[in-house]
Symmetry: C2
Subunit: 693 residues, 2 copies
């Protein structure tokens, strides 16, 4: 088995090379000239400013945390864990950087392809732009995790390979905090700021080049759905694999002691197969990268057809091949079909959650909300919140069923495999997520550069498809984050080795409940903080845009250039400043609960922390779904009215829907997605400190 | 010890007699004549129509459930449990009936006292009206629980006294579903319907007698805060005591087996004191009734001073005496001070949660929300939701601390005692809750009967105090419901006797997580259902009011009488129809999870159900706090603007605040409070079926 380990990082490198080739085909195209090139360049530079700023901060934090690991982690593997942590930060940052670089090069080229060659070419360019991000995320995961596993699982550190790899996951989490939480604040501050002054006060259209905030707004689209979503998925992707490896590691330790375990019976394995079980999650994601490549190829081949079906065939095709491959890999590893069933569970679960999200943010519920607009804003709010609240049911039942079935077939290891199953074809699912902002930006550029209605129509078509896929992707990301966090929490409980963790015991039950209540606070507080963070930042932005309209002579007449960099700057600063509190909440809670209760009585810490993780996990998934789906539903209700229903644009119903959308923006783009990060950060921090409790 | 048991029901009867005397002093006053008497009579009759209708339905359901108990409960105590269940239904219904009867007699007499004798008399009448309800709730609890305990704990059924009493709690829960959940729908349907057509469309003032919906609106105030709040508190009050008795019973069984237990060591008791431990919760509430009486006396004596301080001194005075008395009772029972500390914990915890509620719904956060109105409705919504989200932190930390400290001093039994401590002075806390709608109605009658600004000023002053105390009462009710449910869940876990309930075990952990995820759905789904229930009912109401304005000639000119009964009827029908789904959700979930998972494998049911209860408990408390506090904050932000801030009435900020208030109404008066009932119903149903799992 050991001699196969190198295949994973090698596959990662192959993926990276293909991503590079795709990037080259994009860059080979003309970036336009004159006004178009100038606007595109501004967006690109804005994106790079954001990434550089964030990276500097990430680097400073990473060094500080690495030093803390070296000081406080008293285990022999501390140094390797710290190195893995830095490696994780770099891997995720690199993926984010490549994705942002590509997306802000592909956007203008999509516009030009739409103008000069038609929809099929435009789809290809936009989708290739997304694919570079998708492949890089998957590849960096394989390179990072694969290399660590290759080095440490084969050698003297074998017993601690999972511990070391947890450092990598923590690095991924740190980056996700900056890109996803900070990025969410950036996006919405820019969006709200630009829209309010531009559309409402100055009366100029969306994406008008005279608006100083419009570049920041376009940068924000990329920050949210490329860097943010990418780091979120990367974190879940790594977390799921590491948790599964840790669960397998714990099983291996038991097998070494007792000579057998329920797990190896379930999987039809034998005691000498424990190495295979530990490597299996990596083997699956390795195969998954090839499946994603096939999926990307399918989209390319179908690109002359309707874009929506091209993307759907690519995603589902990749998933089907992946599931079949999982059964094959299990067979090669000498394991029975239970492995494949667990993977199947996760993959199917992910699709169901995605489809449920699509329904609540695009189906009948959206039309119902729009109808409520006839009785005013209040009923829009009530019905939108109600849609969000009830949208949690199907995803949570699906998650519960996924856990139950995958557990029944392959134990807790199976739950980990289900998470790996859900995230196995990340290469293509992430590609489709990242495609969204490229298409969106392409439209923005067409508008700003006044390229005519024909071009705009094509990009709008691409954008509409992107919105639907983004909704599915968001639901999918929440499901995957939840399952990955659950696997990490499971690994934490096993690692903490709490003696007699019996809920029938009075002490255990009380401490568990105390932890549960404390954990439930975290998502709600995080929601409150992130929602209002946008408000403050948007306000600064509004003030700056007003100042420019007032002080720059000729700006509104189109005779002078706005100082767009200043707006990017304000949003970036706000993003980094306002993400500190949520980050402290996520990182600090497990540390305070764990060590605090241990200070009261040794052993209490791990019990209380288990309760806290349960409460936070449940709360984060519930609020993430509710907020994302309410927000998505309000957004689409507005669009539905704009299509001419209930009086169309300019009607009272429309203004009511605009309010819904404004409330929904921080819901779906800031607070909701930040929940994924918060719970995963909490889980990974807990796992890292588990040995100390 | 046994010979003291009769003291509890006897005290209950004393309480009831005093309540009767207070009612007589109210009825002795003139009910006015002419227009005033007519309006008051309409409200009174409307209230009685609602109560009679609901009672008929409750009775039908009760008989059906009692038969189900007799069929499916295979234990020897089934008949007694069924009888206790019917008894519980009757006790809670009676308390609600008395409260509603009194409140709708006291309202007009408060108006007349305000007009003829001034503020002190008006306060006395209104507060006595509330006190009748407060005392009846406490007294019916003592009579019901005390009698059951007296009969069964002294005789051959001693081992099953808690099981039998659970029937009583289930009866209380059934009534709470109708009065609190159904009542919440009634209140808001009437409120929204009357306001929208009356104020907005017809342009007539609030509480105008020409509006056909205005009587239903005034009835609704009583339904929500008298019958609804009363049945909610009654349920928690009984649940807390029964859970504590059940925990003591389980400890007694252990002591009988092993001769000792950790609990008796903690409390400085001995093995022969187990009867005392079982009776202690009842002894505490028995003493609590006297403390409430003293509190009511204090309010009466202080009534010539500022009403706010009179009410505050009464509540806090009663609590202080009660805590001191708890230490005394423990001493008499031969127990150490740990008992008193647990009671103290609960009482102080309740006050902290109440004060936190007051802050979030009346302090700086409210002014911040109003300020956000300057940038429109969207920012009002975002800031209000954010206030609600962050308002969960202090109450949950308080609950966690209450659990931790009371557990440390007196085990899980102590957690039960803390709940009893929080609810011990229900006589006065409930009196103050029920005072609110009396004062509110008094103002409404003054307006409708055109009694002049002087009278209205006095009643407005009383009403303002009522609003603050109502906010505190709501927070307090959530805290108490949460703690009572927690105690019930604890009793459930002990009763289910799950062997090896070890979260370190893979199977237990998986099944627990599956249950947790399913449980988390319940509060969110309940929120979605109850929020939209109001919409449908309000719509019917609007249609009916519009019809009357259109079809009854001379109505708007004040020359014809509106058909107010029809509006009461619509709201009542809607209330009963729309509460079925939430009721099924609350009752059905534990049954489906418990028996469903047991069908998969015996033993899974209890584990999954524990998870479900944990998830639902956490979700219900979080959403209850968030929704009630957001709603309260929006309401008061509107009032703050109406006081002349940010442009005052008629300004843009004011219209933005009105939208906030409209969204907040179902939050704070329907969905939020229904969470208390849902979790307690789930817990009590689980406890009843625990023996069958």
């Amino acid at each position: 088995m050991t001699e196969m380990y190198y295949l994973t990082p090698l596959t990662g490198i192959v993926g990276l090379v293909i991503a590079g080739l795709l990037l080259l085909t994009i860059l080979k195209r003309s970036g336009g000239e004159g006004k178009v090139a100038e606007i595109a360049d501004k967006i690109h530079r804005g994106a790079m400013v954001f990434m550089r700023r964030e990276f500097k901060l990430i680097f400073a934090f990473a060094v500080a945390i690495a030093i803390l690991i070296l000081i406080f982690q008293d285990k022999a593997y501390a140094t390797n864990q710290a190195i893995a942590f830095i490696f994780g930060c770099l891997a995720s940052s690199f993926a984010g950087f490549v994705g942002m670089f590509t997306a802000t090069k592909a956007n203008v080229r999509t516009t030009l392809a739409a103008k000069e060659e038609g929809p099929a070419s435009a789809l290809s360019v936009a989708f290739f732009g997304g694919s570079v991000m998708g492949l890089t995320v998957a590849a960096m995961g394989l390179i990072g995790l694969g290399t660590l596993f290759w080095i440490f699982a084969g050698g003297e550190h074998k017993a601690h390979v999972a511990d070391i790899m947890e450092g990598f996951a923590m690095g991924a989490s740190l980056v996700a905090l900056f890109y996803r939480v900070g990025g969410g604040i950036f996006t919405k501050a820019a969006d709200v700021g630009a829209d309010l002054v531009g559309k409402v006060e100055a009366g100029i259209p969306e994406d008008d080049p005279r608006n100083p905030g419009v570049i920041a707004d376009n940068v924000g689209d990329n920050v949210g759905d490329v860097a943010g979503m990418g780091s979120d998925i990367f974190e879940s992707y790594c977390g799921a694999q590491i948790a599964t490896i840790a669960i397998a590691g714990a099983a291996a330790a038991r097998v070494a002691e007792t000579g057998g375990s329920a797990l190896i019976d379930k999987l039809g394995a034998s005691a000498d197969k424990m190495d295979s079980l530990m490597y299996l999650p990596l083997a699956l994601t390795t195969v998954g990268l090839f499946c994603s490549l096939l999926g990307i190829l399918m989209v390319k081949l179908m690109s002359s057809k309707d874009p929506a079906s091209a993307l759907r065939i690519g995603t589902i095709g990749a998933a089907v091949i992946y599931i079949a491959a999982a059964f094959g890999v299990a067979g090669i590893f000498g394991l029975n079909t239970n492995v494949g069933i667990a993977v199947l569970c996760g993959a199917v679960g992910g699709i169901i959650i995605g489809l449920a999200t699509e329904h609540y943010t695009g189906g009948q519920p959206v039309r119902d909300i729009a109808k409520q607009g006839e009785t005013g804003v209040a009923t829009i709010m009530i019905s939108g919140l109600s849609v969000g609240l009830r949208s949690v049911a199907i995803p949570l039942i699906t998650l519960a069923a996924t856990i139950f079935i995958s557990y029944s077939f392959a134990g807790l290891y199976g739950v980990g495999l289900a998470a790996v199953g859900m995230l196995g074809t990340v290469g293509i699912t992430m590609a489709i997520d990242a495609y969204g902002p490229v298409a969106d930006n392409a439209g923005g550029i067409a508008e700003m550069a006044a390229m005519g209605p024909e071009t705009r129509k094509i990009t709008d078509g691409l954008d509409a498809v992107g919105n639907t896929t983004a909704a599915i992707g968001k639901g999918f990301a929440i499901g995957a984050a939840g399952l990955a966090a659950l696997a990490l929490i499971t690994a934490f409980i096993q690692k903490a080795e709490i003696p007699d963790f019996n809920l029938g015991d009075e002490t255990v039950l009380s401490i568990f409940f105390v932890g549960l209540f404390l954990g439930g606070i975290v998502p709600f507080l995080n929601g409150a903080i992130t929602m209002t963070a946008v408000g403050g930042a948007a306000f600064e932005m509004i003030t700056e845009i007003r100042r420019q309209f007032r002080e720059i002579p000729g700006l509104l007449e189109g005779k002078a250039e706005p100082e767009t960099d200043k707006c990017v700057d304000i949003a970036t600063k706000a993003a980094t400043k306002k993400m500190i509190l949520p980050a402290l909440l996520a990182v600090g809670t497990p540390i305070i609960v764990g060590f605090g209760f241990n200070a009261i009585k040794p052993g209490y810490g791990a019990i209380a922390l288990t309760g806290t993780l349960c409460g936070a996990l449940l709360g984060c998934i519930l609020l993430a779904l509710m907020m994302s789906n309410s927000g998505g539903a309000w957004d689409n209700a507005k669009k539905y009215v704009e299509e001419g229903n209930h009086g169309g644009k300019g009607s009272d119903v429309h203004s009511a829907c605009v309010v819904g959308d404004t409330v929904g923006d921080p819901f779906k783009d800031t607070s909701g997605p930040s929940m994924n990060i918060v719970i995963n950060v909490m889980a990974i921090v807990s796992l890292v400190i588990a040995g100390l409790l």
